[in-house]
C-alpha cells in the first residue's frame, strides 16, 4: 500500500505544481505585456488573474480544451456585444465540435450559418477544403427562436492555436450591422492568444507529469487506473491488462474493466459513489474465475472537490491460495492428531470395560496400540514444533564434530531393514574422502530419516533406493535417490514449502517434513533441493559445509 500512497501524493503534488507554474507565468506575462493591451486600445477589457485562474483550473480538472473554452466564452459575454458566440474545435482528424452560445433568440438558420462559416474558415486555414469533417453540435444559452428572421449581419472569426498547431476557430456574430471594429477583433485575438498560450504551458507540464506518473505506475505490480468524472481513463498501466487476463495490452476501456468484475463488484456505481462522497471503497476477496483480487477505489481531491478517482487492482490469488492451504493444513493436523487419540481412547475403553471378555493376548495388542499411537502423537507434535521453529528462523543447533560417513553407516541398517519390509532394496555408497563436519547430529539424523523414509515409502515393491555421500572440497554432499514415480516439475519448486504434500493424498504425513529438513539444512549453512532421478524417480540432494 505504500507505493499507492506515493503514487497519489505525486499525482496531486504534480497537478498543484503544474497549476502554480502556469499561474506564475501567466501573471508575469500579463504584467510585462500590459502596455501592449493599452496600445491595442483594450479599454475596460483586462485579463485579470482570477479569470485566467478559473480557465486553467477548468482545463486542469478535465484536460478538455472545450471545458476551458466554455469558461472563456462566459468571460467574453461580459466584454463584447454579440448575438451568438461560438467555436469549432478539432477532435481528432475527422471530427469537429461546434459549440454556440446564444444571447439573443436567433433562428436555427443563424446558428447553422455561423457553423458553416467557422468550419469553412477552419478548413481553409488547414488547406483541406475537400476534407470532410463530421460535426458534433452543442448549443447553449438562450433558446433558438425560429420567428426571428434576422440574418448574420456582423461576423468575425479568429483562429486559435495550441503549441503552434491550429486547433480551432472562434466566431462572434450579431444580428446588427457594423458591430465589430478592429479593436474588438484584436481584443478577442489577444484573449485567445493569452489563454491558449497558458493552456499550452499547462498541457506541457501536465503531459510531463503524466509521463512521470505513467512511468511510475508502469512499474507497479498492482493495476492502476485513473479516471475523470466522465469515466475517461487518464492513466492506466500494463498490469491492468495482465491482471484482467486480457491479451490486448492497450485500448482497454473502462467498460472492459467494469464488465470483467460485473457480478462481483459494482465498479461503475462505486466510482460514482466515490466521486459523490469523497470516501474510498475497498473490496476484498473478489473472485473472478480462479483468481482473487482486492480492489480499492480512491478519491483524489483538489480543494474539497473530487476531481479524479483511482482504481487499484491487486492480485490476491497467491495469498488466498496460501490461506486455503493453511485452512486445509489446520483441518488435516486436527484430523491427524485425533486419529491416534481415538485409538488410545477406544483401546483404553475396551481394556477398562471389557477386561473380563477379552483375552490376555488381545490386551497386549491394545496396549501396544496405545503405545504406538502415543508415539505417533508425540512425533506429530514434534514436527509441528520444529516447523514453528523453522518458520520463526529459530532452529537451535547443538553442534558436534563427527564424521558424516560414520553417521550414515550407523543409520543404514535400520533403513535397509525398513526397505526390506516393503520390498525396496537400499544401497549405500560412501566417499572415503568425506571428512568431519561440525553439525547437530540429531537434526541431521532427522533430515536423513525424512528423506530416506520418504524414498522408501514412495518406491514400489522391487524398487531401489540409493544413498551416496561425496566430498565436494568445501562441503559434503548427500544424495538420496529412488526409483519411485518422481515429483512433477510444477511441484518441485513448492515441495519444500510448508503444507505442500508432494506425492499423493495417500501419504498421511503432515506435509511438514521437507519444510523442516530445509530449515535444518539451511540453519547449517547448507542447501537442499530435488532433481529427477534417471531413468525414473526422485533425487534429493543436500550439502553441508565443513565449517
Amino acid at each position: 500500500m505504500i507505493s499507492n500512497e506515493i503514487f497519489f501524493l505525486l499525482l496531486v503534488g504534480g497537478a498543484a505544481f503544474a497549476f502554480g507554474l502556469v499561474m506564475w507565468r501567466t501573471l508575469r506575462r500579463l504584467k510585462s505585456d500590459a502596455p501592449e493591451y493599452k496600445q491595442l486600445n483594450l479599454g475596460e477589457v483586462e485579463l485579470d488573474p482570477e479569470f485566467m485562474n478559473s480557465v486553467t483550473q477548468r482545463y486542469g480538472d478535465s484536460l478538455e480544451l472545450s471545458d476551458a473554452l466554455d469558461q472563456v466564452f462566459e468571460y467574453l459575454q461580459e466584454v463584447i456585444p454579440f448575438s451568438l458566440s461560438g467555436y469549432v474545435l478539432r477532435k481528432g482528424n475527422d471530427k469537429l465540435l461546434y459549440k454556440a452560445n446564444l444571447l439573443l433568440g436567433v433562428s436555427e438558420v443563424f446558428v447553422e450559418e455561423v457553423k458553416r462559416r467557422l468550419s469553412e474558415g477552419l478548413k481553409d486555414k488547414l488547406g483541406e477544403t475537400t476534407a470532410h469533417f463530421s460535426i458534433e453540435d452543442y448549443v447553449r444559452g438562450g433558446p433558438v427562436n425560429e420567428s426571428n428572421p434576422a440574418a448574420v449581419r456582423s461576423f468575425f472569426s479568429v483562429p486559435f492555436y495550441m503549441n503552434d498547431e491550429l486547433v480551432g476557430m472562434v466566431g462572434v456574430a450579431s444580428v446588427r450591422e457594423h458591430v465589430y471594429n478592429d479593436s474588438i477583433i484584436s481584443t478577442v485575438r489577444v484573449i485567445f492568444g493569452e489563454v491558449m498560450h497558458s493552456l499550452s504551458i499547462l498541457q506541457a507540464v501536465v503531459t510531463r507529469e503524466k509521463e512521470k506518473l505513467q512511468t511510475l505506475v508502469d512499474g507497479m505490480n498492482e493495476g492502476v487506473i485513473l479516471l475523470d468524472k466522465d469515466f475517461r481513463i487518464l492513466v492506466i498501466n500494463p498490469a491492468v491488462s495482465s491482471l484482467l487476463q486480457q491479451t490486448q495490452a492497450t485500448d482497454l476501456n473502462i467498460l472492459d474493466v467494469v464488465n470483467y468484475f460485473s457480478g462481483t463488484v459494482p465498479l461503475e456505481d462505486t466510482v460514482s459513489k466515490v466521486f459523490a462522497t469523497g470516501g474510498s471503497e475497498v473490496f476484498s476477496e473478489v473472485c473472478v474465475g480462479d483468481k482473487y483480487y482486492e480492489i480499492t477505489v480512491i478519491p483524489i481531491s483538489n480543494e474539497d472537490k473530487v476531481i479524479r478517482v483511482g482504481i487499484l487492482i491487486e492480485d490476491r490469488t497467491k495469498e488466498e491460495e496460501l490461506d486455503r492451504l493453511q485452512r486445509e493444513f489446520s483441518a488435516m493436523v486436527i484430523h491427524d492428531l485425533r486419529s491416534p487419540l481415538s485409538v488410545i481412547k477406544g483401546a483404553a475403553d475396551l481394556l477398562i470395560n471389557r477386561s473380563d471378555t477379552i483375552s490376555d493376548a488381545q490386551k497386549i495388542v491394545f496396549l501396544n496400540q496405545i503405545n504406538e499411537s502415543a508415539s505417533s502423537l508425540l512425533d506429530m507434535v514434534g514436527d509441528l514444533l520444529d516447523a514453528a521453529k523453522v518458520e520463526e528462523g529459530k532452529v537451535e543447533l547443538f553442534k558436534e564434530t563427527f564424521g558424516l560417513n560414520n553417521l550414515l553407516n550407523e543409520e543404514k541398517d535400520y533403513y535397509y531393514n525398513l526397505g526390506q519390509q516393503r520390498g525396496v532394496n537400499l544401497t549405500v555408497s560412501l566417499d572415503d574422502s568425506v571428512g568431519q563436519v561440525s553439525a547437530d547430529p540429531k537434526k541431521i539424523r532427522q533430515v536423513l530419516n525424512n528423506l530416506i523414509s520418504n524414498a522408501i515409502k514412495f518406491t514400489d515393491n522391487g524398487g531401489q533406493v540409493s544413498l551416496f555421500s561425496k566430498n565436494l572440497g568445501g562441503a559434503v554432499q548427500v544424495v538420496i535417490s529412488d526409483t519411485g514415480k518422481g515429483v512433477p516439475d510444477d511441484l518441485k519448486e513448492r515441495l519444500f514449502d510448508k503444507f505442500v504434500q508432494g506425492r499423493g493424498s495417500e501419504d498421511k504425513g503432515t506435509g511438514l517434513g521437507l519444510a523442516i529438513a530445509k530449515g535444518i539444512i539451511e540453519a547449517h549453512g547448507g542447501k537442499i533441493w530435488i532433481e529427477d532421478n534417471q531413468p525414473k524417480g526422485a533425487k534429493f540432494i543436500f550439502t553441508l559445509p565443513y565449517s
Partner: protein, 134 residues
C-alpha cells in the same frame, strides 16, 4: 446375525471397534481402501456401513454418493465415522443420505455399540444424526 462393514484404513482403530461390536454379536468385516469400498459393499451386503472419510484412493463422501446413486446399494444404511468434523462435511453427508455422523475421537466403543443398536432398531439409542458432531 447382523452384518456391519467398517470402511476404515487404520487397522488399530478397526481392531478396537471390531472387538466391541463382535462381543455384542455382530458380524463385523473391514475394507481398508476407498477404491474397493463400493464393490465390497455389493458383495458383503451389510446391514450397516460405518464409513470413514479420509481413505486411500477415494474418500468416504464420494463412496456415499456412489452408493446412493446405485439402485442396489442406495437403501443400505450408512453412518459416517470419522475425525473430520467440519460443518460442511456433516451437511454434505446428511444431504447425501447418511443416517448419522459420528466423530471417532468423541465416542468410545461401548457408545458406538449403543448408537449402532439405535440405527439398526436393536434397542439402544434412537438415531439422532447430528448429536455427536463438534
Amino acid at each position: 446375525m447382523k452384518k456391519i462393514l467398517i470402511i476404515e484404513d487404520d487397522q488399530a482403530l478397526y481392531n478396537v471397534y471390531a472387538t466391541e461390536l463382535k462381543a455384542n454379536g455382530y458380524d463385523v468385516s473391514n475394507i481398508s481402501t476407498g477404491g474397493e469400498a463400493v464393490e465390497g459393499i455389493r458383495n458383503i451386503k451389510p446391514d450397516l456401513v460405518l464409513l470413514d472419510i479420509m481413505l486411500p484412493s477415494k474418500n468416504g463422501l464420494e463412496i456415499l454418493q456412489e452408493m446412493k446413486e446405485d439402485e442396489e446399494l442406495s437403501a443400505t444404511k450408512v453412518v459416517m465415522l470419522t475425525n473430520y468434523g467440519s460443518d460442511e462435511n456433516v451437511k454434505k453427508a446428511i444431504e447425501l443420505g447418511a443416517e448419522g455422523y459420528l466423530l471417532k475421537y468423541n465416542i468410545v466403543p461401548s457408545e458406538l455399540n449403543q448408537k449402532i443398536g439405535g440405527y439398526l432398531g436393536d434397542g439402544g439409542d434412537s438415531p439422532v444424526p447430528l448429536t455427536d458432531t463438534a
